[in-house]
Assembly symmetry: C2
Homo-oligomer: 453 residues x 2
């Protein structure tokens, strides 16, 4: 691969320019800003690199950009990415404007450089490099680039049902990943699912003077009492049957967890977060096990009545809680939603409205899948470090829709590092990581193609 | 009094103009808008009517306007009023601008016309009418007009300590009151107290991605669990000792409650509020007894994490609840605050911050006080209806600071009616009620002066 890597090194400026071109195009799914324009730009960039491109469309959904590069072998590698980004707020905390990509101190700053336009372009550049140096690709590469990942991929399952052939592959590079504090590349073999709901309690038809609280029901109290039945102070979720599909890690997975735990710096994380201890006082491998293998029930938002400065004596007309359940393999989002509704009814809270706001099932890649070995071997070679493999990650993505349902094993890897500021102001990547990421993908393509079929 | 009442009838336009002049001056305590200007205007209006006026000042407090009219007898009547008003928001729901007083359909519209500039000016006009027709007043009348009532009178106790002589009187006309749905004047002999606090739970030093909820404490859950220990689903406050100073109404008070209950239209109130039943399914005299004689623990506001449209997966760094306790006679606000702190500590929530945001003690006038008889008799004569006397009202005011501590019996009466829209858009009074209110006060002054001393 010396020839390909040299080519990549010589083209660093072109690869940064390509990324800057994409970052310059805002594409904020939550606000509907620049989505169509960004889809068109991704399509053009794939086309310019030599792909057969289709911009797939469904009613009331952001376009899904599909690009296919033919390969020499019969094998297919899927690249799942998204062109949408998080909102850049708060704007005044950015040292340079979020949609004006800027290089400082060997880093490229801009919204989306890490999550995940940097990974999308790195993979595209790897394909280009191989094609330019070798004339063709060892495997067929399919790019699936969606525009709604940051709002929970609400329409991706409809695309998967309408265009199943575009999803099928022998392995998948999942959208992103990063190095850890020791510069060790971390790989991810699965994601948690999510069941995000809003609970709404309603009282009178308007906010009232709080002196009426003697005789008029208060929806804020209804909401608090209902929430208190969902989880106890020992962090145990009390919804009937919630844990019945939760599995303990296997002995092999526990081995991995011990290895991962040894790479983590819990005291540094505590200091960084400004807390004295982790939940339930956990540490080490037990902390990690809980982090990856336990589902959650999290209050993400509470809103009722007067929330401004000072005091206002108001009896609220409505109270709302946003709650997410992060789900581990074998739990199903629709099942958890049903159990939540049954729980509320059984505990006398049938009057609360349950509004589903995003359901995604968890997904997990078998650790012995070929793509896992290929990605890990390539990482070892390119980064010169033994990669750490996470059997799951604590976060969520549409891996079940893109891969799980098609039986495609997926591995997450990418160009991030711990200072990347994903979803935050001053999102950035290190240019060195970006170059290594391109080489890593090029080597994966070479090895995945060469290793059989 | 025929001569005085005729004089009042002849001067209706001048009395409306005087009120309009005061309403036109914004004076929003919560926003610090126009407070100094309005204090000056009230002082000028009192001076023009012949009072000896002082604008009292304390550091970091709105001015307290004091005006004294000498009387023939040695008796003194205190008039407690305030020149500040509620914020006019939401502005777009006003049919005419809140600070441009406008007459429509026999009503005067504008922020503060009922609460309580209308009562302030009605009382001033009554004094003027008596002085003009009779040459002097039968009693000394002291006007105490504060500028912070709508934000809980946080500095009034300091004025009472600094200027006690300005507060002492033989009876007090409390700031406001209204007719009920049957056009029967309602009088009020007491107010509830209040203990308003904000509970604050804190977690990490910033909002985190909610996938971290496996291992990082969530202040929103801490807050919910703490709140759930404060009150149970049967509306029983669980703070140790909370009810120990709560008294049952006396047999005489129960007689009053039965009489008041007979004047109320509970089904109409349910329809108006858009609810199917009152709290605990109560009705009639039991409902009224709870409304007036039971303390409350009310969540006035909840705020944590993401509260906008749609979903955001956030683990909040802070969670806040605003809570008011309405207190009945013999409960003390400082004592309830102390019991709340002890309760939280005892239940494992010492980490929650308790921020006091307004403490006022309840107050009650003995039903056999002379001023009560005088106000009721005058109401019977002016309105031609038997007034309904509320031994307490469910709302709060600084009656303990202004009257209770000085042993001054106080009666609430005023120019409102059920459609007055206090604290809401399109606040208004009926011009007829305003004229009757002026006559009512004139007759009270006459009778209170003539009835002894």
């Amino acid at each position: 691969m010396r020839d390909v890597f040299d080519h990549i090194d010589r083209n660093i400026q072109a690869y940064l320019d390509t990324l800057a071109r994409l970052v310059r195009q805002p594409s904020i799914a939550a606000q509907g800003v620049g989505i169509e324009e960004c889809a068109q730009l991704v399509a053009r960039m794939l086309q310019e690199a030599g792909a057969r491109v289709e911009v797939l469309r469904l009613p009331e959904a952001a376009p899904l950009v599909y690009g296919e590069f033919p390969g020499r072998s019969g094998k297919t590698l899927l690249v799942y990415e998204h062109y949408d980004v998080q909102p850049p707020d708060p704007l005044d905390e950015w040292a340079s404007p979020p949609f004006e990509p800027t290089v400082r101190d060997g880093r490229l700053y801009g919204r989306g450089v890490a999550d995940t336009k940097g990974n999308l372009v790195a993979r595209l550049c790897a394909v280009q490099a191989l094609r330019q140096v070798r004339g063709s690709l060892p495997v067929t590469v399919k790019f699936l680039v969606e525009g709604e990942e940051e709002i929970g991929s609400p329409n991706l399952h409809r695309y998967a049902e309408a265009y199943p052939d575009y999803f099928r592959a022998d392995g998948c590079l999942w959208e992103s990943g990063s190095k850890d504090h020791h510069d060790v590349p971390n790989l991810y073999l699965g994601v948690k699912g999510i069941c995000y709901v809003e609970l709404v309690a309603r009282g009178a038809n308007r906010d009232l003077h709080s002196s009426m609280a003697t005789i008029v029901p208060n929806p804020a109290w209804r909401l608090v009492w209902a929430l208190a039945t969902l989880k106890d102070r020992h962090e145990r979720v009390l919804i009937e049957g919630f844990y019945e599909d939760v599995e303990e890690p296997t002995p092999q997975e526990m081995d991995w967890l011990r290895r991962i735990a040894a790479t983590r710096d819990d005291p540094a994380l505590l200091r960084d977060l400004g807390i004295e201890r982790f939940l339930l006082g956990l540490a080490g491998v037990e902390l990690l096990k809980r982090h990856l293998y336990q589902p959650t029930c999290t209050i993400c938002g509470l809103l009722a009545g007067y929330t401004g400065e000072g005091s206002k004596t108001v009896l609220p007309r409505v109270a709302r809680a946003k709650i997410d359940f992060r789900l581990v393999p074998r739990q199903r989002a629709a099942d958890v939603l049903e159990k939540l509704r049954a729980h509320l009814a059984q505990h006398g809270f049938a009057d609360l409205e349950v509004v589903p706001m995003g359901l995604e099932d968890p997904a997990r890649t078998p650790p012995d899948a070929e793509i896992v070995r290929v990605v890990a071997d390539a990482a070892r070679e390119v980064y010169g470090r033994e990669p750490v493999i996470y059997p799951l990650m604590a976060a969520t993505g549409p891996m079940d829709v893109v891969c799980g349902r098609f039986g495609t094993p997926a591995v997450g890897t990418g160009v991030g590092y711990p200072g990347t500021n994903v979803h935050a102001p001053n999102e950035n990547i290190r240019i060195q990581d970006y170059m290594q990421g391109i080489k890593h993908v090029a080597l994966i393509l070479e090895r995945f193609g060469g290793s059989g079929a």
